[in-house]
């Protein structure tokens, strides 16, 4: 063991190293570490906050979906009701229209019938008159009487045909 001035030199070297480490190495490294720790803590807090917000949003979305579902159901119900109403209305209108048409037809038919009857009546009258005039002509000629009747019958037959 040889103690000499090397000791002083080494103390100086050691001192310089400590000073350098104290001033230039330790502070930036610990600062970086601490800042990163802070950043990680913030990140974790943000993640947690995000989770909570997500949960809230889920709840809110559920509420909105439920409301929409209710409304949709209401609308469908309303539509159903309206459908029934429209069908009923249409049925009523159709019935009324049908009745109206039937009434009209019936009226037309009645009119036609009375007109036909009048015509027939007129025809019958003229036929009767014609027949009578023929009869009156043959009364004097009894022989021609039969011919007349026969002729009348033929005419009627011909008219029939």
């Amino acid at each position: 063991m040889d103690i000499n001035a090397t000791l002083l030199g080494q103390m100086l070297v050691f001192g310089v190293l400590i000073w350098f480490s104290w001033k230039f190495i330790w502070p930036p490294l610990t600062k970086a570490i601490e800042d990163r720790q802070k950043k990680i803590a913030e990140g974790l807090a943000a993640a947690e906050r995000g989770q909570t917000e997500l949960q809230t949003a889920h709840g809110e979305a559920q509420v909105i979906v439920n409301a929409a579902r209710d409304q949709a159901k209401k609308i469908v119900d309303q539509a159903h009701k309206r459908e029934v109403e429209i069908v009923d209305e249409a049925r009523a209108t159709a019935l009324e229209e049908g009745k109206r048409i039937v009434d009209g037809s019936r009226q037309d038919a009645a009119q036609e019938k009375s007109r036909a009857r009048d015509e027939l009546r007129k025809d019958v009258a003229s036929l009767a008159v014609a027949g009578a005039s023929r009869l009156l002509q043959r009364e004097i000629d009894p022989k021609a009487h039969a011919d007349l009747i026969e002729q009348l019958a033929r005419e009627i037959e011909g008219a029939k045909a």
Binding site: M1, D2, I3, N4, A5, T6, L7, L8, G9, Q10, M11, V13, F14, G15, V16, L17, I18, F20, S21, W22, F24, I25, W26, P27, P28, L29, T30, K31, A32, I33, D35, R36, K39
Partner: protein, 276 residues
């Protein structure tokens, strides 16, 4: 004997080999002489250590760290945690001090793992005949560090208790404040105070010096290998086996000694701030 001769002819005998390896490159006379090898190696290793750490510190980023920054941060955190557990005041000075001690001492100790004759051969290329490569196997280094630590401990004592409080404590603790006990108190405190740097320095110096010596003894085992006898063959393989075992064991020792030196510095500083 010069290292150049050493390379060709080999040492004359074991004593000469060991003596040669334990001789410092020294300039100056008496007390005012310097061990150039010790100073050079410790400054070089200090620059390497702090330079590497400084590259990490300068580019330190809060974001994703580089691999080197991650490693440096690991060391920093480890030391910061260790200091925090023991020392409860502001550690903005003590923690970097502990870091410096741990890393610097570790690297200086690690020089012991270099092949024993390699540094000498490299030095011989520059015409230097003596070159001890482990600065911590030089008591000057270890005492320089422990005395600096003593100054730090005294600084913390004064800072925590004030000059008056500290001097008061030197004379009144641990036995009491009776004037009769002042001298015994002071003597005991002085012994306690001075035993700290002595034990710190001697522990590290002793371990590293002994470790180096054991490496030399192991190296001597294989010295006779070129005589090509059975005994020399045994010696050669003995050197291989024991050298490997001792080197592996020494990895533990160099780390442990660096850690102990750092830890005791922190503990002494913490004790200095406690009131008796």
């Amino acid at each position: 004997m010069s290292a150049a001769e050493h390379a060709t002819a080999g040492p004359a005998n074991s004593t000469e080999y060991i003596t040669h390896h334990l001789t410092h490159l020294k300039v100056g006379e008496g007390f005012w002489s310097f061990h150039v090898d010790t100073i050079f190696m410790s400054v070089l290793l200090g620059i390497v250590t702090l330079g590497l750490f400084y590259t990490a510190a300068r580019k330190a980023t809060v974001g994703v760290p580089s691999k080197w920054q991650a490693f440096v941060e690991m060391v920093v955190e480890f030391i910061d945690t260790t200091v925090k557990e023991v020392f409860h005041l502001d550690r903005s000075f003590l923690a970097p001090l502990a870091l410096t001690i741990f890393v610097w001492v570790f690297l200086m100790n690690a020089m012991d793992l270099l092949p024993l004759d390699l540094p000498g051969k490299v030095a011989a290329l520059f015409g230097i005949h003596y070159w001890r490569v482990v600065p911590t196997a030089d008591a000057n280094t270890t005492f320089a560090m422990s005395l600096t630590v003593l100054l730090v401990v005294l600084f913390y004592s004064f800072k925590a208790k004030g000059a008056g409080g500290y001097i008061h404590e030197l004379f009144t603790a641990p036995f009491g404040s009776n004037p009769v006990l002042w001298i015994p108190n002071f003597v005991l405190n002085l012994v306690e105070l001075l035993s700290k740097p002595v034990s710190l320095a001697m522990r590290l110096f002793g371990n590293m010096y002994a470790g180096e010596l054991v490496f030399m003894l192991i190296a001597l085992l294989g010295a006779g290998v070129f005589t090509l006898t059975v005994g020399s063959a045994f010696g050669f393989f003995g050197q291989l086996a024991m050298g490997a075992v001792w080197a592996i064991f020494h990895i533990l020792i160099i780390t442990l000694q660096a850690f102990i030196f750092m830890m005791l510095t922190v503990v002494y500083s913490a004790m200095a701030t406690e009131h008796h």
